[in-house]
């Protein structure tokens, strides 16, 4: 088995297990509490408005926005890690059909592996510092790596058909 296939298969299986562990941890210790907090703050915002307490209402609405910001990204991290892991394992099985020299295939595999690990990580890191430019930049760079890697893979598949 070529090194590029090993990168993708081993990396994909590890990432799938990691993504599922994260999902299990999240479901057990975070999700229910987040949902309760989200629903609770929105309800509090309306009930405070009903008793004309504008400041409490705005503060609860702000809390709702912050909690939802985290919730969306935590769920995205889980789904993207597992989804990208599946794509890596799948490409690992198929990678010999990518019609490039092995060093090029290795470079593509490393791009996909790095993007698959770093993109969801950058998404979850955003929950620790909302609006941090560094984490947003990491998300852009890592998703760019993924798109470039997949585009190169598609090109490699297409070359194998016409070679």
């Amino acid at each position: 088995m070529t090194a590029s296939r090993k990168f993708l298969l081993f990396g994909g299986l590890t990432l799938a297990a990691l993504g599922m562990f994260y999902g299990l941890y999240y479901a057990l210790f975070v999700e229910h509490q987040s949902l309760d907090q989200m629903g609770g703050s929105l309800a509090k915002s309306f009930s405070a408005a009903a008793v004309r307490d504008v400041s409490a209402s705005q503060s609860a609405l702000h809390q709702y926005g912050e909690t939802k910001y985290d919730y969306v990204r935590q769920v995205d991290t889980h789904s993207h890690w597992v989804g990208l892991a599946m794509l890596m394992i799948l490409l690992g099985v198929l990678f010999d059909r990518v019609n490039f020299r092995e060093p090029v295939r290795q470079a593509i595999a490393i791009c996909i592996l790095a993007g698959s690990v770093l993109f969801p990580l950058s998404v979850t890191l955003q929950t620790y510092d909302h609006g941090a430019i560094a984490f947003k930049a990491l998300a852009v760079v890592s998703s760019g790596l993924l798109i470039a890697g997949l585009a190169a893979t598609a090109l490699g598949f297409a070359r194998s058909e016409f070679a």
Partner: protein
């Protein structure tokens, strides 16, 4: 049945069931649930305008109930499909998993049991609630879902261990899937890769151009809604409920289009690899490949167009989903009809 065929058969069955569930959810639950959410928000506005905090809380209890119902049904759909995809992927890597045949077969059964019980547990979370549960926020259905998820993790770790052992011996534990250079195989492989790439590009566009804007718009709309309701301007507050619904719709269709086009791409690539197991004539194999790719384009494109064309686009998207389901069932029948020749060769070895 060999572990590989168990994974293939179970995987396609899980994906078919997950898609059927998704189609039923889209037709009978999704829009109705969104309408009831709007009604609950209008009730909350009325309560705020009347200065009745307990009625506002009551409206949100109802809204939370609706959101949980919708969320768990979406999660059941997503996890059933995810388990199906993973089963197909595990079928592909079986030659590189250096474990005994009984161990691999047990792992395959455990995976299929976990993959079936996980979405079932998630689906039941809303209906079972906290009945007879010793925990404060986790009910028995959640326990079932979490235990099933743990089972899937265990099977993945077993496969990872088998792959680690393979790296030492470098001996295939069973023959690799035969390569087939037929039209359906090539179309599914190339079409699938293009679909995944399109999904990535759409996701990047959505994250860059719309995600943060939509998040800001949501709190802005809610702020305006609460402000209008508390100053007694109920018509203005209820107009914001419409804006809120439109925003939720815009987010939902973008996320659904992104996830569906990628999943269909993955599915097409996976199915290109299991074509040797589809025991049908070339004509039928071509027909199912074309139907699957056609449905895979129609569904996400018309989901996106729902914002402009409304329910008409929704209906066409559902037909796209149905095309994918029918082609999956067609391929599943081909796998059931499979002669078992490859298994016999494995046993002979």
């Amino acid at each position: 049945m060999s572990p590989r065929r168990l994974y293939i058969f179970g995987g396609i069955a899980l994906i078919t069931a997950g898609m059927l569930f998704g189609d039923i959810f889209a037709v009978f639950v999704l829009h109705q649930n969104a309408g009831r959410q709007g009604t609950a928000l209008i009730e909350a506005n009325a309560a705020v305008a009347a200065g009745n905090a307990s009625a506002a809380n009551q409206a949100f209890a109802g809204l939370g109930d609706l959101l949980e119902d919708r969320g768990t049904q979406v999660d059941a759909h997503v996890h059933m499909l995810g388990a199906g995809y993973l089963a197909l992927i595990l079928a592909l890597v079986q030659p590189y998993v250096a474990l005994s045949r009984p161990a691999k077969k047990n792992a395959a059964w455990l995976f299929l049991i976990g993959g079936t019980l996980l979405p079932l547990g998630i689906f039941l979370i809303h209906y079972v609630g906290l009945a007879y549960s010793p925990f404060a926020v986790i009910g028995w259905a959640s326990v079932l879902a979490d235990a099933s998820g743990a089972l899937l993790i265990l099977v993945l770790l077993m496969n990872l261990f088998g792959f680690w052992k393979y790296r030492g011996t470098r001996e295939l534990s069973e023959p690799e899937l035969p390569r087939e250079n037929s039209m359906p195989t090539r179309a599914l492989l190339t079409g699938g890769t293009i679909l995944v790439l399109l999904g990535f590009l759409h996701g990047a566009y959505y994250a860059g151009a719309m995600l943060y804007q939509h998040e800001q718009m949501e709190t802005d709309i809610l702020g305006r809604m609460i402000g209008a309701a508390s100053s007694g301007r109920l018509a203005a507050a209820n107009a914001e409920v419409n804006n809120f619904g439109n925003l939720a719709g815009a987010r939902a269709v973008n996320i659904a289009a992104h996830s569906h086009i990628i999943e269909f791409g993955l599915l097409a690539i996976l199915l290109s690899l299991v074509q040797p197991y589809v025991f049908l004539s070339d004509t039928w194999k071509r027909t199912w490949a074309k139907a699957l790719l056609g449905g895979s384009v129609i569904l996400p494109v018309f989901v996106l167009l729902e914002l402009r064309l409304g329910l008409l686009a929704g209906g066409i998207a559902d037909i796209g989903g149905l095309l994918v389901i029918v082609s999956l069932v067609g391929m599943l029948i081909g796998i059931v009809r499979y002669s078992g020749r490859l298994d016999a060769e494995e046993v002979a070895r």
